[in-house]
């Protein structure tokens, strides 16, 4: 069980669980969390591929770094949309 | 040779305090007491581990950095736990006191 095969399988499992949650859950925030966790699964799969017993290949690292930053901006945009959806549906309770 | 024994001892202490903090977290009845156990034990555990690693580093800059890191974590986690303790609603906080008196 070398290091990278452990994280290959973890990445695959994370993607799978995220996909199940995305399909099952009805609450939008839960679904957004599921998408984030699927993203982390894919990144883990990517970097496990780059790990060759110490002589790590740095191109996937750069790509995943870019991916993390874009993922957080996509999540922020999705959260803003989510706010608009809920505001369109309901009156605002006096806070 | 002494260094190895000392390092092993310090790692042992560090692990003991971390486990004590976690078990304290598990068994204490009230949020405030859990917070108390967790913060104190983890800080001391971190001190032991940082010291153990600092002793064995060749260049002393790294060990100085570790000590600064420990000071930072000490201050931040104590401030955070006080902030949390302030926020826990009163009924829970003085349940412990009522039990005693």
């Amino acid at each position: 069980m070398s290091v990278d095969s452990i994280y290959f399988i973890t990445g695959a499992i994370l993607f799978g669980m995220g996909f199940i949650a995305l399909v099952i859950r009805t609450n939008l925030l839960h679904r957004l969390l599921a998408v984030n966790i699927m993203g982390v699964g894919v990144f883990m799969w990517f970097i496990a591929g780059a790990y060759q017993h110490g002589a790590t290949d740095s191109v996937p690292h750069a790509l995943v770094l870019t991916g993390i930053v874009v993922a957080v901006s996509a999540t922020a945009f999705a959260l803003a949309l989510l706010l608009k959806i809920h505001l369109a549906e309901n009156k605002e309770r006096p806070s | 040779m002494i260094l190895d024994i000392l390092t092993a001892l310090l790692f042992g202490f560090g692990l003991f305090f971390f486990l004590a903090g976690s078990i304290g977290l598990l068994r204490f009845p009230d949020v405030i007491s859990r917070l108390h156990a967790l913060t104190k034990a983890d800080n001391v555990g971190l001190a032991c581990i940082a010291l153990a690693v600092a002793i064995n580093t060749e260049n002393w800059m790294i060990s100085l950095k570790l000590m600064l890191l420990w000071l930072l974590v000490l201050m931040i986690s104590s401030l955070l736990s006080c902030l949390i303790a302030q926020r826990v609603p009163k009924p829970q906080a003085n349940r412990l006191r009522e039990e005693q008196c």
Binding site: - | L25, I49, I84
Partner: protein, 96 residues
């Protein structure tokens, strides 16, 4: 890696797992908050141990980043608790 470091790393992960049990079972919101404290400190200790006696400087930088960013989520969570118990008045039961 020095065997002592491996034992220390496994011990820390064990401590983390034990702490997690409380967080999962924790009735009140305060217990959820403890998980942030727990992950922060144990994560920093693990990073120091994994840095292989200071040989890998990047890990100690990561530990600094972790130490500086732990308060953000805790304060964000506290601002959530504050509005909940104050205005909605549903009390401290774990309803969220």
């Amino acid at each position: 890696m020095h065997t002592l470091l491996i034992i220390a790393a496994c011990g820390l992960i064990l401590a983390f797992a034990i702490g997690l049990v409380r967080v999962v079972r924790g009735p009140t919101k305060g217990d959820r908050l403890l998980s942030l404290q727990l992950t922060g400190t144990t994560g920093i200790a693990l990073l120091i141990v994994l840095s292989n006696f200071g040989e890998n400087n990047a890990l100690i930088n990561t530990a600094f980043v972790l130490a500086l960013l732990a308060p953000i989520t805790t304060v964000a969570y506290l601002s959530v608790i504050k509005t909940l118990s104050a205005t909605d008045g549903r009390g401290e039961s774990d309803d969220t």
